[in-house]
Symmetry: C2
Subunit: 174 residues, 2 copies
């Protein structure tokens, strides 16, 4: 079955954006494993706000991204851009169906609301956090409104010369 | 100069206690570097709540702890147990004085309020986080009400077989 992977840059105090939406603290000087990560996936899950942000900043916020199948999760939009698929109901059933289709793994790209929903539904298989050596002190937390404890299994750590630590966990098994 | 080290167990979502004050998720099966850490220190800084907790649970919450000089930070207490020292004013001046005294390093043992005060005053020199492989979903955050971004320098990572990752950072230098 295809995995849903939450892959994201985070501060040591677990924020994905600073208090004013800043993400200037995210390191861009190296690849940090992104190329290898992108080889594993062919699909992206995006929440509505993140989707709208990618529309204004260009294709998924970065050049050099491979062409990915995009699913946009929203209960307020009634259409999305050509080629993308809108999911506005029955999230659990639809995500399970997608995970059972043939294909590579799926990047849960954000945002916070979608991440919470999928975590609470038990639909996330892997966390891949690029922990940056900074305390932001405030902003948008990566994890919020999680209903129950979620036990994790550490599968990999990588330490980079800049102080970024990449932590990879599998979810689930108690 | 002696260092003030914030040494603490934390969930991946940056909580030091669960929603009901739980810390049953903290691993106790191994030493996790605690013995080496204790060799570095001879002094503890405790906030009022943490101090009161140590009074009910016994000497610093654990047997086998070396005898440590204790400073209790509180604006409401007017006395503390024999042998301990109360700090209820002029935190910055007094902590700087203690850091300049002869001695080993100092364990900032918590809690959250004291941690925030000392971080915002620039008096913490090192973070040593035992990141546990769990999302608690809520509880008491390790970091709260930090005024400004704090840049960190990663100095060490250790990965344990149980999935605990020990991350050590120096504070300060931009």
């Amino acid at each position: 079955m295809r995995k849903v992977i939450l892959g994201v840059a985070v501060s040591l105090d677990s924020f994905i954006e600073g208090p004013k939406g800043e993400y200037d603290w995210c390191f861009t000087d190296q690849d940090y494993g992104l190329s290898d990560f992108l080889k594993r996936i062919d699909t992206m899950f995006l929440g509505r706000k993140t989707y709208e942000m990618t529309l204004t900043t260009g294709d998924n916020g970065g050049s050099g991204f491979p062409k990915l199948k995009e699913y946009i999760f929203s209960t307020t939009l009634d259409k999305v851009k050509e080629g993308a698929t809108l999911i506005n109901s029955d999230i659990k059933t639809k995500v399970e169906k997608i995970k059972n289709e043939k294909g590579k793994d799926i990047w849960l790209f954000g945002g916070a609301g979608l991440t919470t929903s999928l975590l609470n539904l038990g639909l996330v298989d892997e966390l891949s956090l690029a922990v940056h050596p900074i305390l932001l002190g405030g902003g948008k937390p990566l994890f919020s409104n999680i209903k129950d404890r979620i036990n994790l299994t550490l599968v990999d750590t990588k330490t980079f010369s800049t102080g970024l630590v990449s932590l990879t966990y599998n979810l689930g098994q108690k």
